[in-house]
Symmetry: C2
Subunit: 518 residues, 2 copies
């Protein structure tokens, strides 16, 4: 058994886990603002005339010294169209290698393919922002992975890499375009995915970096997203990914009237905050109402001739339209969510690619998440202490992703969670969320279709909202209201086995995910 | 006294120096292709809402914890128009701080101003690519600096920073444009200098980074050359530099008939090498004949419809013309040499900014210098072993800069030194150069007005040149010829005191510079 300690939000978390090591309990969103850094750039022995092009993924892995127990990293810009991680892990299995920890920036249901490799001991560790589908279910309910999944936010991941907390032996970069020396970008080629923001820390700090491309171009490719100075080998192969898989339902503006109602209320809320003014900055996460807020905001900005400084995060076509309309000075893009965004980042110099570290790493000298005025967030669950869950369902099974949720909530001046009071028969506002991803101290406002609740720490906002005639309610009352409709929710039945660790962006453990009883 | 050892080219170099530490003798251009890396990204403690704007350079230095004995770094993109280093060091002196090592990427005669700070003990160490003027004379002839100047190449400098060999306490970035969070570029503002390539390693690895700008713009400035994630403080002040000082005589195509003759011969030489073909890459250093080679090359490329891949290094208007004419696919620019280059890097997406590490660091995973086909170099002196001096005059006094000389010579497929046999009464081809910056093994060809000499290691080239009817001579014969005209040169009279160490790009010591007797 692992020794357990209670962290500052009352969650019991382990202070040590075999195969992972010593862990620090969460102590508040800004309790650990600095940390010792011990990552250094990888050693190299490149000589003029050395050839980086190799014939196959296998050859690249062999030359990189792939061995049992190593950490392999991937990035998720192709989302559910990613073919590369499956392809590489098939190769790793074929080579007879075991005990690999994979460290993708996130995972989708296409990665259910990896279940067989987990069951055979090829993969024994996973570090990711999120996971879904059957893979997530088997880890959550069957405990097929020997060590807990380490859930990291999009800012926490580059922090862990750049600080040396998370060593990477071999980084695999899926490159829409590469030249023979390994300069890479995501905007050219038949399978352009746009920004390569999540892959940048990996390429910089991995001991070996392998670029896999289906579009080899003459040297030097430009723009350069990942430079040749960080790349050891280049492999040309068919079909690294399918950009059609990039677009998911989570990235379109909703037509659901309930979600639009919540979005409209959220827009009223942020207008009442008086933060929407010349030069303000804005981000909306994925999810039903979240993006729709941008839609209402857009009307207001037009009517009042307000131009924002930047919109950031994962970027979709709707934000591109706002940029082109002159409503923002620029877009800061860590990941393109649709083909229109890819087109824009290719052609518009005001649509900028940013690394995940630039986006949200809490331990560099100032990430963009810390410059946000307004952040619109979704929630799978939110509790009366404003803690938010976006990683497990109410059944306790992993089905989502940490993403930039806790990063932007902590960094923004105003963080607004938009969520319906219940989904189907499942209440969203609870006494206690199943899993805490974002601590309540980082959430300012909850907007539901029935009313708005304000974090007691933000009395200033509450007063302002009331002055504007918004119906402000206590979050406890919203919870009661939800329960009246859905009935008292049952907590998921879990064992004591830890199948997931939720790392806060600063490297501390904010919660655990337990194996559910089946 | 320092213990001395003979390095692989027979120069006696110290193995230890007080105040600098243990030193490794040069052992061949690629004897040390890897090295232990131990630099890590600096710790930070940035929180949302933290303000980086401070009122003065003094306040920024104080907040950065400036103390006796620290290392302050600077960059030389303003060349002889740089006002910032003088301004900062005046402030440091005024604060009563002593024993500072300055680490500029290079120094010009405008920095004669620092002599007073050296004489008073404010500055006790210098690491630079080069130095000139009265400052260089007083260090060389009067020994005013307590420790030897460490001469580093443009590739060796980022190597030393990224590897942790050269720690920087505070980096000072002169920024033509910055926003309040410290995103910086060199292409906007009244004093745009173009590329900020030399400053990039400093900003990334210095414990504290201070941006000093005379052009504050709204957040986020873009393009971003140095990101806010690396910047601690931003100071707005007048007149960081004068871009008119960027242009120097060394960056214009010569009209001197002798230099044009040498350039034409050099062009014949590189054509004979058969490397000038579709997709070839090219760089020409500064100096009389060097750039003129591009002029002759251009005619050939036009006539034969050849398009090169890239031209690199410091970029001038002549190369911009060639880019715009379609003769190169792109320019890779570490430093803009004139206003036309600045205009081009601002507007032309095929004119790319590159960091000094990307340009020439021998210990990353493949720098551009290692991709060069043809490199045209100048020389202050060259000896019968093809060793080249570009740092000291024949009188032994420092008057030049290492620059990218040894980096590109080592990396390119064909390195051609263009030099007249003598300048005034001073022979250029000698038995032994005063100071070795680039080892003879990296130089393939010497082109003079009297004939071409080929390094015996490149018999392939010699055969090819002779087949093409070029007048190939032995370098010893060129030397004799020079001596016949100028008389046997006298060696500079030096003491045993070491006033400069010439570090080879890989971190080993290739030569020393001795104090001259006056």
């Amino acid at each position: 058994m692992h020794p357990l300690v209670k962290n500052s939000i009352g969650r019991e978390v382990p202070s040590y886990i075999d195969g992972i090591g010593k862990l620090t309990p969460f102590a508040g969103a800004f309790a650990h603002t600095t940390q010792k850094t011990n990552a250094s750039l990888p050693a190299s022995s490149h000589r003029p005339g050395d050839v980086k092009l190799v014939k196959s993924i296998r050859e690249a892995l062999e030359k990189s010294g792939l061995a049992d127990g190593m950490v392999l990293s991937f990035h998720h810009h192709f989302r559910n169209g990613d073919h590369l991680m499956n392809m590489v892990m098939d190769q790793v299995a074929e080579m007879g290698i075991r005990d690999i920890t994979i460290s993708p920036s996130s995972m989708q249901s296409i990665h259910d393919h990896l279940i067989a490799h987990i069951r055979k001991g090829v993969i024994t560790g996973i570090r990711t922002s999120g996971l879904r589908g059957e893979l997530a279910r088997q880890i959550s309910a069957e405990g097929i992975l020997p060590t807990p999944v380490m859930i990291r936010s999009h800012g926490g991941r580059p922090r862990s890499i750049e600080s040396g907390d998370s060593k990477i032996d071999i980084a695999i970069i899926g490159a829409p375009a590469s030249d023979p020396h390994g300069n890479v970008n995501g905007v050219e080629g038949p399978n352009a995915c746009g920004s390569l923001g999540y892959a940048m820390a990996d390429a910089a700090f991995a001991q070996k970096t392998i670029v896999v491309t289906d579009h080899l171009v003459s040297h030097p490719v430009h723009p350069v997203s990942i430079p040749q100075t960080q790349v050891d080998y280049v492999v040309v192969t068919d079909g690294i990914g399918d950009p059609k898989g990039i677009v998911s339902g989570a990235t379109r503006i909703t037509r659901n009237p309930l979600e639009l109602l919540i979005a409209e209320k959220a827009c009223q809320t942020i207008l009442a905050s008086e933060l929407v003014k010349e030069g303000f900055s804005f981000q909306a996460g994925t999810g039903g109402s979240s993006l729709a807020v941008a839609h209402f905001l857009r009307q207001y900005m037009r009517e009042h001739s307000i131009k924002g400084s930047f919109a950031s995060g994962g970027i979709n076509g709707y934000l591109v339209d706002m940029l082109e309309e002159g409503l923002f000075n620029c877009l800061l893009d860590v990941q393109c969510f649709d083909l229109k965004a890819i087109e824009s980042i290719r052609n518009n110099p005001h649509h900028l690619e940013m690394s995940a570290s630039y986006y949200a790493n809490p331990h560099n000298k100032g990430c963009v998440a810390h410059n946000l005025d307004i952040m619109i967030l979704s929630a799978t669950e939110i509790d009366v202490n404003f803690n938010v869950n976006v990683i497990t369902g109410s059944n306790g099974i992993m089905m989502g992703a940490s993403g930039g949720h806790c990063d932007t909530a902590a960094g923004s001046k105003l963080s607004v969670v938009v969520a319906p009071l219940f989904r189907g028969r499942i209440p969203i506002v609870l006494d206690e969320v199943t899993t805490v991803v974002t601590p309540g101290e980082s959430i300012d406002v909850l907007v539901t279709e029935y009313g708005v609740a304000v974090n007691p720490a933000r009395k200033d906002l509450k007063d302002r909202f009331q002055d504007c005639g918004l119906s402000v309610m206590e979050i406890h009352d919203l919870k009661e209201m939800a329960e009246k409709i859905t009935g008292k929710p049952r907590k998921p039945m879990v064992t004591e086995d830890i199948v997931g660790l939720v790392e806060y962006r600063d490297g501390t453990i904010i919660d655990t995910i337990k194996k559910v009883t089946t």
